[in-house]
């Protein structure tokens, strides 16, 4: 175009010159913009690496645990002096006395109450539970001698893992010089080892770090999420289908839509307060129960599920609806036979992401009493229970050093759950997603 006015180039050659002059600048701008983007990604990744690095470096040691092997003599005088062999009598015996006797036998030259107290402190108080279990299962053990592997105390565990400095003066560490010497003696003849830490995965909470496990929290999280899923999925999808496919567009549905979007942004603690007022105070449900937790988290995830489901339904092309209606299907048949199945991958993704958010919540559960010390693994949705993020929070605030590693261990378990859930969402989307 050979326009002549205000400095617009006249010939192709002139245009080329102008373009070339600006080209370098435009390339530079693009490179700069790419660099910004790359820097943002790199920064994000470095944060993630830092987070994972800290958690893994502190938490992986939880997989191993100090165990001590002792020759236990199942002394009938201690376990069952009356000789009844009744389970009730076997249950109340002082099994720690057997451990004490075994320790005295191993270190015969230790004398005096304070020194013996230190010696007994090497073995966890969980040892008596272990011995009781063995004897109850097989009363024939009584009177026999058996080499038993028992949990070591958490201070010993920390020493084995190098988390207590040996060089520190005696009065500044939790273990005395004598205890360190005993530990070394036991190590030397192979009676004290780090082994795979089963207790961490099979026990509930405990105030002794060596006995504390995540099972209670994992089961609590599972029960809570199950209830959340059972409630929020059908309600959320139902609401989304109605609003998207059947509801008339008028002022009322507009208000509902605005409200749903607002609810998705409400701080989670508000849902906790609502749950406290409604489910516990009004309906009289028990505190600390996964059922109430599930109900509260349902309120929390519903907006997410509804919004994601509506987006998925919206993404189904209108031509499919029109074709179905044209073939004589009713609106209900159109939705159920065609639209909903096609939208399902998106709906499921939304539900799983909502669940993942619910899994990581702890604030609303504070109000309904799930921030609690619970030793027994919950057996049902009405038993008192806690959840994984709350367990992390509770352990992080305890003074014993063994809990630092447990805290990171619990975070790793939580992250694994989240990764599995999010990966499921990605797989579902890739597998069933249709493109038009």
């Amino acid at each position: 175009m050979n326009s002549t006015s205000n400095g617009v180039p006249r010939t192709a050659a002139e245009t080329q010159v102008r373009v070339r002059a600006g080209l370098a600048r435009r390339y530079r701008a693009e490179r700069r913009f790419r660099a910004y983007g790359l820097a943002a990604v790199a920064l994000g990744i470095s944060f993630v690496v830092f987070l994972f690095g800290t958690v893994l470096s502190q938490g992986l040691s939880v997989l191993r645990q100090g165990y001590v092997q002792l020759d236990i003599i199942y002394d009938p005088e201690v376990i069952d002096p009356a000789g009844t062999r009744l389970p009730d009598d076997l249950a109340v015996a002082d099994y720690q006395a057997l451990v004490r006797a075994a320790l005295r036998e191993r270190f015969p030259d230790v004398e005096g109450r304070p020194a013996l107290r230190e010696l007994y402190g090497l073995v966890s108080s969980a040892a008596s539970v272990e011995l009781q279990k063995r004897v109850t299962a097989d009363p024939g053990l009584i009177g026999q001698r058996q080499r038993v592997t028992l949990l070591a105390d958490d201070t010993v565990d920390m020493l084995l893992k190098g988390k207590v400095s040996r060089s520190a003066p005696e009065d500044e560490r939790r273990l005395s010089d004598a205890q360190v010497a005993w530990v070394d003696a036991l190590r030397a003849d192979g009676a004290l080892q780090l082994r795979f830490n089963r207790a961490f995965f099979t026990n509930g909470d405990s105030r002794d770090p060596e006995q504390a496990g995540v099972r209670g929290a994992v089961v609590g999280s599972f029960l809570t999420l199950l209830i959340t899923l059972l409630l929020s999925f059908p309600i959320g999808v139902g609401a989304a289908v109605y609003l998207e496919e059947f509801a008339p567009r008028n002022r009322i549905t507009d208000i509902i839509e605005v409200n749903i979007n607002n609810l998705a942004a409400v701080p989670s603690i508000v849902f906790g307060l609502l749950g406290l007022a409604m489910f516990i105070s009004f309906f009289g449900m028990p505190r600390s129960a996964p059922l109430v937790g599930g109900l509260v988290l349902t309120l929390l995830t519903l907006p997410t599920v509804i919004i994601a489901s509506r987006a998925a339904l919206k993404a189904v092309p209108p031509s499919i609806r029109e074709a179905a209606l044209g073939m004589g299907a009713s609106r209900w048949q159109t939705v159920v036979h065609h639209v909903l199945p096609l939208a399902m991958p998106g709906v499921l993704t939304g539900a799983i992401i909502g669940m993942a958010r619910a899994l990581g919540e702890s604030a609303p559960l504070l109000m309904i009493g799930m921030v609690a010390f619970i030793v027994e693994v919950p057996a049902g949705a009405l038993d008192p229970s806690t959840v994984l993020p709350v367990q992390v929070f509770l352990w992080s605030d305890l003074p014993e050093r063994g809990f630092v590693e447990r805290t990171s261990g619990a975070i790793i378990v939580l992250l694994l759950f989240l990764i599995v859930m999010n990966a499921t969402a990605v797989v579902l989307r890739n597998k069933f997603e249709k493109r038009w």
Binding site: E172, L231, G284, R287, S288, V336, V371, F373
Partner: protein, 352 residues
């Protein structure tokens, strides 16, 4: 393709079934003890709860960490299995809380003093030794302090280095890490350190009697220019931060100091070092009593409540070599413990 609605219907049905038995069993009696309250007492009560559960006679009590104020509120809500039986408190229950308890029918309460917690200032072993008085702590942390030239007027806190307050203190920047205002530990800090330091100035001490509100405002307000850092409720975080920063001082309970003796040192306060002995005898100026309060109406109704409280005050737990001492609880002197036990035995009523 038509499987989808069936799945939906099934989940909906399952949800209804899952929700059904709720209201029926919720009202049924509870067969475990329910404890709520202070996060400072939580590590001790949970220890007792676990040992108690291990004995196998009763279920392990449930211990919620709600904070002292929140716990007392729940505790005072009423009598019945849906309300807690015991509340942990890192301070005494006050008169207005007691009144609200009575209003809701919680008339008879037993107060059990379980021991002491020393509120310590601690520093890194690698840092300078601090030998502080409470007056110096007040001068270092209050938002407004008396003008050294004219002590009856207040000026914004001018001190940035410890040695500006007193020549004997090290020439390092004032940097104190402590809990946020929502914490019970902060209340104790205000009372044990700030008020005590404040009252060393005669006119402020007289003000306490005349205008308590103003006195509290002047003495409890901490500076906001970076010398005092609110480090969150998590005491382990404060421990880690002062380990890393050798000039910083941290505020937390004695049990955390005890657990980290290899890295930290307790600052001397008014010349007294924090140890079991000095805290228990009351020589250490900043020690606070810890309590549990028991609902009398629940004794005999909730299985194991009486036995749980008995276990709490037993020699195994609270004695000088008891398992709570291993956890960092500072035991009370023998005579006090005997009185506590007698109160528990006679179910003596608490009155603020």
């Amino acid at each position: 393709m038509s499987r989808t609605p069936r799945i939906l219907a099934l989940t909906a049905a399952a949800a209804i079934v899952a929700a059904l038995p709720v209201t029926a069993s919720a009202q049924a009696a509870r067969d475990f003890v329910n404890v709520v309250g202070s996060s400072t007492v939580y590590p001790f009560t949970t220890t007792v709860a676990e040992k108690f559960g291990r004995q196998g006679r009763f279920k392990t009590p449930k211990v919620e960490s709600t904070g002292t104020g929140g716990g007392i509120k729940l505790f005072c809500n009423g009598v019945g299995p849906q309300h807690p039986d015991v509340v942990n408190a890192s301070r005494r229950m006050n008169a207005s809380e007691f009144d609200s308890c009575r209003k809701n029918g919680v008339r008879d309460i037993i107060e059990v003093r379980v021991g002491y917690d020393g509120l310590t200032l601690s520093e890194s072993k690698r840092g300078p030794v601090m030998n502080l008085t409470r007056k110096q702590v007040y001068l270092a942390l209050a938002k407004q302090v008396p003008d050294p030239a004219n002590p009856t007027t207040l000026i914004p806190n001018p001190y940035t280095m410890w040695n500006q307050i007193d020549k004997s203190l090290p020439a390092t920047k004032i940097e104190v890490l402590g809990p946020p205002p929502t914490s019970g530990t902060r209340d104790s800090f205000n009372e044990l350190y700030m008020e005590a330091g404040c009252r060393t100035f005669p006119w402020l001490n007289t003000l306490r009697g005349q205008d308590e509100k103003r006195f509290k405002r002047l003495c409890h307000t901490l500076r906001e220019d970076g010398a005092f850092v609110e480090a969150g409720e998590n005491d382990n975080l404060i421990v880690q931060k002062i380990e890393a920063n050798r000039n910083a001082v941290g505020i937390f309970g004695f049990s955390f100091l005890e657990e980290n003796m290899d890295k930290l040192r307790g600052s001397k306060i008014d010349g007294v070092e924090p140890t079991y002995e000095t805290i228990s005898s009351g020589k250490y100026p900043a020690s606070r009593p810890l309590f549990i309060y028991v609902k009398k109406a629940h004794i005999g109704v909730i299985p194991g409540l009486q036995e749980f409280v008995n276990e709490y005050v037993s020699d195994r737990a609270l004695g000088e070599e008891g398992y709570l001492t291993d956890r960092g609880l500072v035991p009370q002197p023998k005579s006090d413990l005997a009185r506590t036990r007698a109160d528990v035995k006679s179910l003596k009523n608490f009155a603020p």
